[in-house]
Symmetry: C2
Subunit: 192 residues, 2 copies
C-alpha cells in the first residue's frame, strides 16, 4: 500500500535495536483518515472471505480493527493481556513473548465470543517475530474457528514472523513490508 | 442515550462487587454499529467545541475514541499504561488507581502529541471512581491544553467519579448513567 510506505518514510523514525517508531500516526497518536484507507485496503484483500469477526490484541491493534470492521460490518473482539474483573468464566488463553515490552504474558479471550462457525480476520499494527499472531491463531484454533488471514499495518520483513506464519499456511497481508532499515534513517520496502 | 440504556438492559450483567459486565458489546467484543451511534452522539454534544484531538486510555477506550474521531475529523492519542520501547523521550505521566485491575499504574503520553493549542475531548468506556479521567486531566493540564469535556459510554452514578469531576468544572457527558443496580439484574438509570 503506497500510502503506508510513503507515511513511514515521512514520519517513521528508526531507533537502535530494530525499533521503528511510528507513534505519530499508528500506535500512540492515530491518524484516523489513514486508518480508513487501511480498512478499505483490508476489505479489498479479504472482502470475499465471509469474515464474521475481526480479532485483535490490545492495545495498538484495537483502533485499526474497529475502523476496518466498518467495511466488513462485523464485530471486533480484542484479546486482553491482563487479569481483569471484567473477564471471568470460561476463557481461551495463550502465552505470548513481547519484543516491545521484554516479557511473556498471557492473552485471553472469553469463550462466549469465538466459536467454530466463525471466520476470523486477525488484525494488528506490527508483525515482527510473530508471537502475538501465533497466540491469536492458537486461541482461534482452540475455538475451532477458521482464520481466513491476517491484515497487518507494518511487517518487519527482516524478522522471522512473516515467513513463519506464511509457512504455516496463514495468508498474511501486510500493507508495508520493511525489508531493511538503519539508524541513518534509510528504510527499504519489499516490492509487493 | 436511549440506545445505550436499552443495550445495557439487554446484554449487561451485574456481578458482585459493583461490576457491570458489558463485554458483549463494549469492552471485549465491540459492536461497531453501536460505536458509530455513540460517536454521532458525542459529536452532537461536543461538535461545536472546536476539538483538535481526542484523548483516551488503553485499552477499552481506544475503539470508541477512534470511531468517534471520524465525526470530529481529528486524531486520537491514547495514554499508555506500560513501559514500552515505542515511548521514549519527553513524556507526560500521571498515576492512576484501577478499580478493575486492583493496582496503581502510571499512564504516559508523549509530549509531542499534546500542546497548549489543543482543545481536548476525553473519551472512555467507563466512569466509576474517576481515577482514569483524573489522570488524563492531569496530563492535559501539564501540557497546557484545554479540556472541553469528557464523553463516557457508561457512568456508574452511584460511585463518586462523576460528581468529583463535575465539581471540578469538567463537562462530563455520559451516554448512560447507572443510578443503582443489584445482583438480581435490576438496573436503574438516572433520567437525563
Amino acid at each position: 500500500m503506497q500510502l503506508m510506505e510513503e507515511r513511514i518514510l515521512k514520519d517513521g523514525v528508526v531507533r537502535a535495536g530494530n525499533v521503528l517508531k511510528v507513534d505519530g500516526f499508528l500506535n500512540h497518536q492515530m491518524d484516523i483518515d489513514l486508518f480508513n484507507e487501511m480498512g478499505k485496503e483490508f476489505f479489498r484483500l479479504f472482502g470475499d472471505e465471509d469474515v464474521t469477526k475481526i480479532v485483535t490484541i490490545e492495545a495498538s491493534g484495537i483502533g485499526i480493527a474497529c475502523i476496518a470492521a466498518q467495511y466488513f460490518h462485523v464485530p471486533v473482539v480484542f484479546a486482553k493481556k491482563s487479569e481483569s474483573k471484567n473477564l471471568d468464566g470460561d476463557i481461551y488463553t495463550s502465552s505470548v513473548a513481547s519484543f516491545t515490552h521484554n516479557k511473556v504474558y498471557d492473552i485471553r479471550i472469553s469463550k462466549k465470543y469465538l466459536n467454530e462457525n466463525d471466520r476470523i480476520l486477525l488484525i494488528d499494527d506490527f508483525l515482527a517475530k510473530g508471537n502475538a499472531l501465533l497466540g491469536l491463531l492458537d486461541i482461534c484454533q482452540q475455538a475451532g474457528a477458521t482464520v481466513v488471514g491476517a491484515g497487518i499495518a507494518i511487517e518487519k520483513g527482516f524478522q522471522e514472523g512473516g515467513q513463519l506464519l506464511r509457512k504455516r499456511g496463514l495468508r498474511v497481508e501486510s500493507l508495508a513490508i520493511v525489508e531493511a532499515m538503519d539508524a541513518s534513517g534509510h528504510i527499504e520496502f519489499r516490492p509487493q
